[in-house]
């Protein structure tokens, strides 16, 4: 089941949520995960990055189990990963930069698991743009997750994420390009179920500014976006799966402006992942 969560997160998010889940990989001492997705649009926390051409997301993560126990603190892991976004459209090879490598992120996470199925992740992420379409964003985030089966194979996996932009200047190192460093809150859940061999996940999330995260013309708009998606995952072999799905987002005032005035966005994606 954890592999399904990982797959859903790989498909629907750039590095932050990938990094936030404390249970994305199994109980291996050195778990590894990698994936490559292809999609028509890249929205990060409701903010359009690109919706032209083809967007390809290679990513990889390796972990190290530091601790395992039956009670109290049941697990402790360190995870290190990279997320990349390659673009053939405006943000990439067909745009002003002429280069396709739009984003390359590196993150490290300390994941703590507790006996009551609560996970707590602390993640530092550096979001870089090799083709210099944006300035590097440094972010510290904390995620609390509950991953508990509620009815047989079903689970909701609710989570809350808080993120802080660090080391910013006006227009530098910020998702919104605003004057002040942003603080972000995301609330979500990943209801999931299995139908025969096919895993079905329906991730739902809402993104909110809790301080200058969605600045527009000097005003911080609290509501960023709400999103719902449907993801189907088919395992092929023990560690490999193929997946595909659709995500629909409704945008707030700032994210709508950044999306060219359109208040919604539909993203389709397919990919393959390896989780061991």
């Amino acid at each position: 089941m954890n592999r399904l969560i990982l797959t859903a997160l790989l498909m629907l998010n750039a590095i932050p949520v990938f990094a936030q889940e404390s249970s994305t990989v199994g109980d291996q001492r050195v778990p590894v995960a990698a994936g490559i997705d292809v999609r028509n649009a890249y929205m990060f926390r409701g903010v359009r990055q690109d919706d032209t051409g083809t967007i390809t997301w290679p990513s990889a993560e390796v972990g190290l189990r530091l601790h395992a126990a039956q009670h109290g603190l049941t697990s402790a892991r360190v995870r290190v990963g990279t997320f990349n976004s390659l673009h053939s459209g405006w943000a990439g090879s067909s745009g002003p930069s002429g280069k396709s490598w739009y984003e390359s992120d590196v993150y490290t996470t300390l994941s703590l698991g507790f006996a009551n199925a609560v996970g707590l992740d602390t993640t530092f992420t550096g979001y870089r743009s090799p083709n210099e379409m944006f300035t590097t964003v440094k972010e510290l985030s904390f995620t609390a997750t509950v991953d508990r089966a509620v009815a047989g194979a079903k689970s909701l996996a609710p989570y809350a994420l808080v993120a802080f932009e660090l080391d910013t200047e006006p227009g530098i190192g910020q998702l919104d390009g605003g004057f002040k460093a942003g603080k972000y809150l995301e609330l979500g859940a990943t209801p999931r179920h299995s139908l025969r061999r096919v895993g079905i996940a329906v991730p739902v999330k809402v993104g909110l500014s809790i301080g200058n995260y969605y600045e527009l013309a000097g005003e911080d708009h609290h509501f960023g976006f709400v999103s719902v998606a449907g993801i189907a995952t088919l395992p092929i072999g023990r560690w490999i799966n193929v997946h595909g799905g659709v995500e629909v987002e409704r945008l707030g005032t700032t994210t709508k402006a950044f999306n060219g005035g359109d208040a919604s966005k539909v993203t389709a994606l397919v990919g393959v992942a390896v989780v061991r």
Binding site: F134, P170, G171, Q174, G177, F179, G260
Partner: protein, 294 residues
Amino acid sequence: MRVMTPPIVIGVVSVLCVSALFVRADAAATRVFTEFDVPGATLTNAQGINHQGDIVGTFVDVAGQQHGFLRSGGQYRTIDYPNGHAIFARGINDAGDIVGTYQRPGETGGVPAHGFLLTRRGGLQAVDYPGHLNTIPQRILNDGTILGCYHDTDTMGTMHGMMFQRGFSAIDMGMSMNNGATPDSAYVIGLFMDMDGRNKAYVMEHGRMSSLEVPGALATNGWDVNPSRAVVGVYTDAAGAVHGFQYDGGSFARVDVPGATATRVFGINDRGDLVGAFVDTAGRTHAFAAEVTR
């Protein structure tokens, strides 16, 4: 790179375009003018405005250095280019991406200009038309389309209107400059010098060009257009006075900042708000915004 050839000779069409037009002086009546200067500036000139009212332009500081600026929510941010001078921020889209120009070390005068794109998130890209010495990106649309011109040894015969849209393209007509377009790029406006030696505005719809001239004007320059196809710009009247104008498809309206000796309109957003520059009675240049009363 591709070259677009206008199917109609501008000089022939211009007379037909202006024959039924007149100039109204009431454009200011529906707008509230706000004059502003970048703090400490000796000159401020606004060039572009987006949906949410972010304004870009250029200013000269007390040391005589020219910088670009962004005015957003009443706050100012200075825009500079590494190792560049004479910075000029010209256009901004709703996402906050900005285009403009700079000069390289050793360059002076009005001809040298090199383009840049400053993304909302601070990414900086050069915008240089391949194979030519100078590029002026004047406007950026919400889909990232960039409009402006390239030129080489002058801003006359070597200057051609250009567009960047998954690659560069240009108008096969000298002394021209693309300055604005509707969101779908189907309706492009700009300025050119006609065969009679006068500067005129043009509109190009699906590649078909026609000129636009304020009746009785000595010169007319088109500087921007909004999604409703309201064209704004600058004209010089028969007495030599400089005014802004707005063309709504049927008639021209004069735009003058109250009390100004000269007014130039350079930008319009989808709400109809205008920005530009004016000269006061003391001869100083300030920026203005003219917001439509709602």
